[in-house]
């Protein structure tokens, strides 16, 4: 066992791994936004994309040794919270008027 551990150097996760993970999650969220029709699930996919960006921010903050990236994540969190509050308010008022609306029916938002 010790010879094996000597021969096989355990790789440590570098910021590149985290960036690739963020890219994959962003892609999944983007496909979800394009495919799903339920407005609530659309919002969840947008949250996925925001989280992917957060992963990338923290990874680059570590890589550049700069705390600004983590501050940016803080602001992304605040904006995500505000966006969810407004978006869910709009969805509530639409679905209350027309139950069962999908994203295809949201063209009724046009004045």
């Amino acid at each position: 066992m010790s010879a094996l551990t000597l021969a096989w150097q355990t790789p440590e996760p570098t910021p590149t791994w985290y960036l690739i993970l963020g890219a994959v999650v962003f892609g999944i969220g983007a496909v979800g936004v394009l495919v799903r029709r339920n407005p609530l699930v659309l919002f969840m996919c947008i949250e996925l994309m925001l989280n992917a960006v957060n992963i990338s921010f923290v990874a680059l903050s570590v890589r550049n040794q700069n705390i600004d990236g983590q501050t940016a994540v803080f602001f992304v969190l605040v904006v995500a919270a505000a966006e969810v509050v407004i978006g869910l308010g709009i969805i509530v008022s639409i679905l209350r008027r027309r139950p069962g609306s999908t994203a295809d029916d949201l063209s009724e938002l046009r004045g």
Binding site: P13, G27, L34, V41, E47, V62, Q65, I67
Partner: protein, 196 residues
């Protein structure tokens, strides 16, 4: 070894939850998959020594945002499963798959090709234990490693020093969002209807 195990397990949580959000038919199940993803992201933050962000991630996302989603799902009674077979535009799904693969491919290509470039704008160093990152500055180990709350101290100094105006504007943003939601969802009360 430990870091590798943590990375693999947390990445499995993140990617599995993300796939669950997109693929589960039931909105409640999608919301719970989102919780799984958010906890995985919090684990990644802890693994990168961003302790404050991990705590805020759990409190704000898993504690507030997903609960808000679940509230709305229950309130509206839209917790019926979607029929994923309906495809309004026949070409939409293949196009979406192509777009997704293209986005991920382009980003991974860019990431891998710029892997060996040095840091862009070197800050004053942050509280991380591994300074052997590719291109990390030589004096990266000058960062206050070891102090238990160094990350929070640095973050607060940065937030309330360099970014204090943006911080104040986020409070304005939150107030506007709350007021806007109250206006949006207020039901016009007809005359003669009792107060609820």
């Amino acid at each position: 070894m430990m870091e590798l195990v943590v990375f693999v397990v947390a990445s499995a949580m993140v990617v599995g939850g993300a796939l669950g959000v997109v693929l589960r038919r039931h909105p409640v199940h999608a919301a719970l998959s989102l919780v799984l993803t958010l906890f995985g992201v919090a684990v990644h933050f802890v693994a990168q020594e961003a302790h404050f962000l991990a705590a805020v991630q759990v409190i704000v996302y898993a504690g507030a945002i997903v609960v808000l989603f679940l509230f709305v799902i229950m309130l509206l009674g839209v917790d019926t499963a979607d029929n994923l077979r309906i495809d309004p535009l026949r070409i939409q799904r293949p196009l979406a798959a192509i777009v997704g693969v293209a986005i991920v491919g382009l980003m991974i290509t860019a990431i891998v090709s710029t892997r060996d470039t040095g840091p862009l704008a070197v800050g004053e160093g942050i509280d991380v234990e591994y300074a052997n990152v590719a291109g990390a500055p030589e004096d990266a180990d000058q960062a206050p490693v070891g102090e238990p709350d160094a990350n929070i101290k640095q973050l607060s100094r940065n937030l309330f020093g360099d970014h204090v105006f943006a911080f104040e504007f986020t409070s304005v943003l939150l107030i506007v969002a709350v007021a806007g939601t109250v206006v949006l969802t207020r039901r016009e009360r007809r005359k003669g209807e009792g107060s609820t």
